[in-house]
Amino acid sequence: MPHLFFADDDYAVIEAACERLIPGATDAGVADYIDGLLGAFSTEPPRIWAGGPFSGRHGGDAGFASFIPLTRMDELAWRTRIEGSGGIPEREFNGPVVGLQERYCEGIAALRGDFTTRDPDEQDARLHSHPDFTALLYEHACEGMYGAPEYGGNRSSSGWRAIDFEGDVQPLGYTDAEVSRP
């Protein structure tokens, strides 16, 4: 699948880094989750909020698959968060904002292009030496691993299956017995 934001090499660095943060992240498509966030505005509606009320995994229609359109204000917030303010006055009402895309480009540069070929200890050392970027990447890796699959990660619910979590259960829900018994 073509990436929405990352160049192939950068995608590979992110994928390898996420695998160090959360073993199994590659199979779960965690890098796709991050690519989907950074490239959210390359689709219409943007891939910010999955639809509802049901995913179809436990009955009902697959509503999660249709993303919810953004208002002008929503778009302003999410474009600024992702792209940064870039000197655009409308985005700088409380000062300049560094966007996620820029933070990722800098983070990938800091991990360096040969990251994918380094041994795990060296990869971990590089991650440790850039704690701010690694903290950001880990946040997103957790979301990509255990969030709804419609956002690109948690492929085939593999993240949920690994922890025996049923995920979204509507409209089935749980019976009273499933709630009250061990």
Partner: protein, 550 residues
């Protein structure tokens, strides 16, 4: 202003009395079809990313930040961003609250005369009693749809009737903690909850999906403000305008004439009105009063949150906290001072203290859990063994927070919202009362946890000034129970609104949210604020005679 529990209850009463009402709501509408309010929207979902990571229900802290400082020595502000945000959306905080909806007790309305003053706190009695409010409590429970067991709580105030619905299924973890609490002589009971245990009000029974607190209900089984809003709109006399921000209440010769508002395209308009009902929540209500140039010295002061004491235990067995409504059991024992608490209060140099309602609860969200563990090889094992979700259970006590003159909402001198208006600044620090009570009751809660065969226990509080800003626990209170910023009273020199919520200075402005609370009790504020909103709106519509407007 505001379509949350307070505003929608007021709109329901006023439209039923034949009034024309315009409901301004700055958030988006994900609740019902405005063209046909009998049809519900399908935007809510069991989606942790959408609701807890990406601000789906608003407010977006980039567009509408707030600021925080503990006191003046922090400068203009110490933090900018999400400060105790409650949803900004049609239905307000009612949409994603998990809705424990207890009534206050009788003594909550006169703590000052019952227990006496406390240094550096502005403790006062309410200008009304539990008996005055009881009929409105009963009406609020029917309106929202509350499930509960009237005889189960020995500390409860008298009621004129049963709950509209029986309680729903107890969570497994709650059966363990309730048993342990009972063995120590406490009195846990099924939480009165705004989630249908049986079909009610045309909405289905809750099916225990577990994505409850912080989420909209995908099947509309929650007692969010749907029922009153729907009813108001279906009269044809109410118009709901989402994505409209009220920027000013216009006042002329001591009477409000209407409001200025900014529409979704950024254009400013004026709407005239004979009365203005303000239910924007206890932070945005004083902000709007200040933006409107109103000058009563108490506007924004006496801000209260509940002081949360969290006591958690690691258990050997899995308790699946992700099944069921977020909280099914509570106990009230720590709201009633006893000999032991009196001794601890005296040791802390206080004449008395008390805690709050204790929620029996766990953690249900895997993304939130994952972020708590360190990254690396151990991550997968931590998530599988799940010591901080599947095998953790405990308590959150919503401790009473005393009103203090210095704790307040005012306008930040520099930070603006996306529309260019000064944002709310919160100045807040805890009183010795909350800290001492939390230390005492934290130990009591830990004793209960030991009776659950705990492998480990931990207690923490929110706020905790020793943590950095931006962390989950920080100097900013986590509690979404916000109160007190336009306090109610008979005397205009010591209160902002009269006993019917009307501004002393501008009597055709009625405040219909928890801003009017005089004290915070230790119970969630929502049922009480809805009861007060019903009472205030009824008085406005002539149903219960208020004193004449001068």
């Amino acid at each position: 202003m505001g379509s949350g529990p307070g505003g929608s209850a007021a709109a329901d009463v006023l439209t039923a009395a034949g009034w024309s009402v315009v409901i301004f709501e700055k958030g988006r509408n994900h609740l019902l079809d405005l063209a046909d309010p009998s049809r519900l929207k399908g935007d809510y979902s069991n989606d942790e990313i959408k609701f807890t990571v990406r601000h789906f229900l608003g407010p977006d802290p980039f567009l509408e930040p707030r600021t925080f400082r503990r006191n003046q020595s922090d400068g203009d502000h110490a933090f900018v961003g999400d400060v105790n945000n409650v949803p900004s959306t049609v239905g307000g905080g009612g949409v994603h609250a998990d809705g424990k909806l207890p009534r206050f007790r009788e003594d909550d309305f006169h703590m000052h005369s019952e227990h006496g003053p406390i240094d550096a706190a502005a403790l006062a009695d309410w200008p009304l009693t539990y008996d005055d409010l009881e009929p409105f409590y009963a009406e609020a429970e029917r309106l929202v749809g509350v499930a509960g067991d009237a005889g189960a709580n020995p500390f409860a105030a008298p009621r004129s009737g049963p709950y509209p619905m029986p309680p729903g299924a107890p969570m497994y973890g709650a059966t363990l903690s309730a048993g342990a609490a009972q063995r120590l002589g406490y009195h846990p009971y099924p939480a009165p909850t705004g989630a249908n245990s049986v079909p009610y009000g045309g909405r289905p029974a809750c099916n225990n999906c577990g994505f409850c607190a912080f989420y909209g209900c995908p099947i509309h089984a929650k007692g969010d403000p749907l029922a009153p809003l729907q009813r108001a709109l279906l009269t044809g006399r109410a118009e709901l305008r989402p994505e409209t921000f009220v920027s000013k209440i216009n006042v002329n010769n001591g009477m409000a004439t209407g409001v200025d508002y900014v529409d979704t395209h950024g254009a400013t308009h004026t709407e005239t009105a004979r009365h203005v009902v303000l239910a924007a929540g206890a932070v945005e209500t004083p902000r709007l009063l200040l933006l409107s140039g109103l000058e009563h010295p108490l506007i924004g002061r006496h801000l209260m949150f509940h002081f949360q004491t969290l006591a958690m235990a690691g258990l050997r067995e899995r308790v699946h906290p992700h099944r069921g409504r977020s909280v099914t059991h509570v106990h009230d024992d720590h709201l009633v001072p006893d000999e032991r608490s009196q001794r601890a209060a005296h040791d802390a140099g206080l004449p008395w203290f008390r805690g709050g309602m204790v929620e029996h609860c766990g953690a249900s969200a895997p993304i939130q859990e994952a972020k708590l563990y360190p990254w690396g090889n151990a991550h997968a094992r931590s998530m599988r063994e799940s010591p901080l979700r599947e095998r953790m259970w405990g308590f959150t006590m919503q401790g009473e927070d005393l009103p203090q003159w210095t704790n307040r909402v005012d306008l930040d001198p520099t930070v603006r919202d996306v529309r260019g208006f000064p944002v709310a600044r919160i100045t807040y620090d805890s009183h010795r009362f909350e800290l001492a009570a939390s230390a005492h009751y934290g130990e009591r809660l830990t004793e209960i946890l030991h009776g659950m065969d705990a492998e480990w226990t931990v207690t923490t509080t929110s706020p905790d000034a020793s943590f950095p800003y931006g962390d989950f626990i920080s100097p900013i209170p986590q509690s979404k129970h916000v109160m007190g910023t336009a306090r109610m009273g008979a005397d205009p020199s010591t209160s902002v609104v009269d006993p019917y919520g009307r501004l002393h200075d501008v009597p055709n402005i009625v405040v219909a949210d928890s801003s009017v609370f005089v004290t915070s009790s230790g119970y969630g504020p929502t049922l009480t604020l809805v009861a007060l909103a019903l009472r205030a709106a009824r008085a406005l519509a002539g149903g219960e005679t208020p004193p004449a407007i001068e």
